[in-house]
């Protein structure tokens, strides 16, 4: 690859690595896996960089690659999902505000428990629509499906998520809004 192309990729990767990792985290619910997914996606893009470097919306292409990489990873029969049944010791953090901490913990619960129970493709639609703020058309391009499918998957995903959150709130005593 030419030096100029390589430099272009370097800049693109440095600028978008963090955002891609966040999206990957919402897909998979684990920061380490998210980092692996982000790196795998960027490696695939580097191999195809000559061909894709002139695309109008490179970040949309990167999201598409990330989504495919994650779905491929999930489809692998030998994939061993990490078992998260260990108890981490509680440690007090004096710098955090108790008022905002409960909201943040609830948000983490939302991802770790509720969002991860939503089927993968519905979860992907929800992340792309509500975290990445993409339009229905952009999500359809990223997922390689029709806009109608995006809409139906969004509706189903929301319904599933609401049901799970409701169950979580009932069990923890929090009132669902």
């Amino acid at each position: 690859m030419r030096k100029a192309d390589e430099q272009g990729f370097r800049e693109f990767a440095a600028a978008n690595a963090a955002s891609l990792r966040r999206t990957a985290y919402l897909f998979c619910g684990d920061w380490h896996t998210a980092e692996d997914l982000m790196q795998s996606s960027l490696m695939k893009m580097y191999v195809a960089w000559k061909r894709i470097k002139d695309l109008d919306n490179l970040i949309a292409y990167a999201r598409k690659v990330l989504l495919r990489t994650w779905l491929d990873e999930k489809r692998r029969p030998w994939r061993r999902a990490e078992q998260r049944d260990g108890e981490l010791p509680d440690a007090a953090d004096a710098t955090v505000d108790p008022d905002t901490t409960s909201a943040k913990l609830w948000a983490r619960e939302l991802v770790h428990t509720a969002l991860l129970q939503v089927p993968p493709r519905q979860r992907a639609v929800l992340v792309l629509r509500y975290f990445e703020d993409l339009s229905v058309a952009e999500v359809a391009v990223a997922m390689g499906c029709t806009e109608g499918t995006v809409k139906s998957q969004t509706a189903r995903g929301l319904a599933t998520l609401r049901t799970i959150v409701e169950k979580l709130d009932n069990s923890s005593g929090r009132v669902a809004s």
Partner: protein, 251 residues
């Protein structure tokens, strides 16, 4: 739960994002390493396939006849007519001699010729035909047969070089030359070799070209050096019929 709450919840979910330790150069290096590994793997695969195909295809492409090999010890003559290979010639001579012997002596069974290019092999000392030397006969071998006593064989040699006709009759109790119509001379000889009966009967035919054919019958099996018997299984008369059989193309 509203869409806005989901949006805010997702944004809050990444609030404890660990620091990103990402170096594009490391990633590029990893990709290049992967690429070179893949190329090496493909190269090894292609090389293995080429070797496998070559090993299968080459034996079919190379000449099979010993005489047509490069550096064969018999110099190719531009005036010599194209002829069948020595192996095929030897095989045909063996088949024809076996057929002739079967017709001439009906008491014999299991008659079969086994001739190879080059000098004679003497089992059990050698198990394969040795490499052909310049002085060796063109081909030689044994004509196997079984009579009422048991299995034995006749020794056959044919060629220009290595078959000295001198002293052929040395020590013979009977030796005579018979002139053939084609100009060749058949010499019949019998040897007692210190025994009361004939221990060896041998016939040689010398063509005008210098080509010599020799068939001998012994009071033992020359192919195995065993099977001693009182006298020879086939007498000179039959040996002469074999060596003069027009069906056998000796030259």
């Amino acid at each position: 739960m509203s869409e806005q709450e989901i949006r805010e919840g997702m944004l809050l979910a990444v609030w404890d994002e660990p620091p990103l330790d990402f170096d594009p150069d490391t990633l590029i290096r990893r990709v290049e390493q992967k690429k070179s590994r893949r190329r090496a793997l493909v190269a090894v695969g292609v090389a293995t396939a080429v070797i496998a195909v070559a090993s299968l295809a080459l034996p079919g492409l190379l000449p099979r006849d010993r005489d047509s090999q490069l550096g064969a010890d018999t110099p190719a003559s531009s005036s010599a007519p194209p002829s069948v290979s020595v192996e095929k010639k030897a095989q045909r001579a063996g088949d024809q001699l076996a057929a002739k012997l079967g017709v001439t002596m009906t008491n014999l069974t299991d008659i079969a010729g086994s001739f190879n290019p080059g000098r004679l092999t003497y089992p059990p000392f050698t198990t394969s035909t040795p490499a052909r030397a310049p002085g060796d006969p063109e081909f030689s071998g044994y004509l196997y047969l079984t009579d009422q006593i048991g299995p034995t064989s006749l020794r056959v040699e044919a060629g220009v070089k290595g078959l000295s006709t001198k002293d052929f009759c040395g020590g013979a109790t009977m030796c005579k030359d018979v002139q053939q119509k084609d100009g060749s001379v058949v010499t019949e000889a019998e040897f007692n070799e210190g025994t009361p009966e004939i221990a060896r009967a041998e016939v040689q035919r010398v063509f005008q070209s210098g080509y010599v054919v020799r068939i001998s019958s012994h009071n033992y099996n020359p192919a195995t050096s065993a099977g001693l018997r009182q006298t020879v299984p086939v007498r000179v008369g039959v040996l002469t019929e074999l060596v003069t059989d027009p069906a056998v193309a000796w030259q």
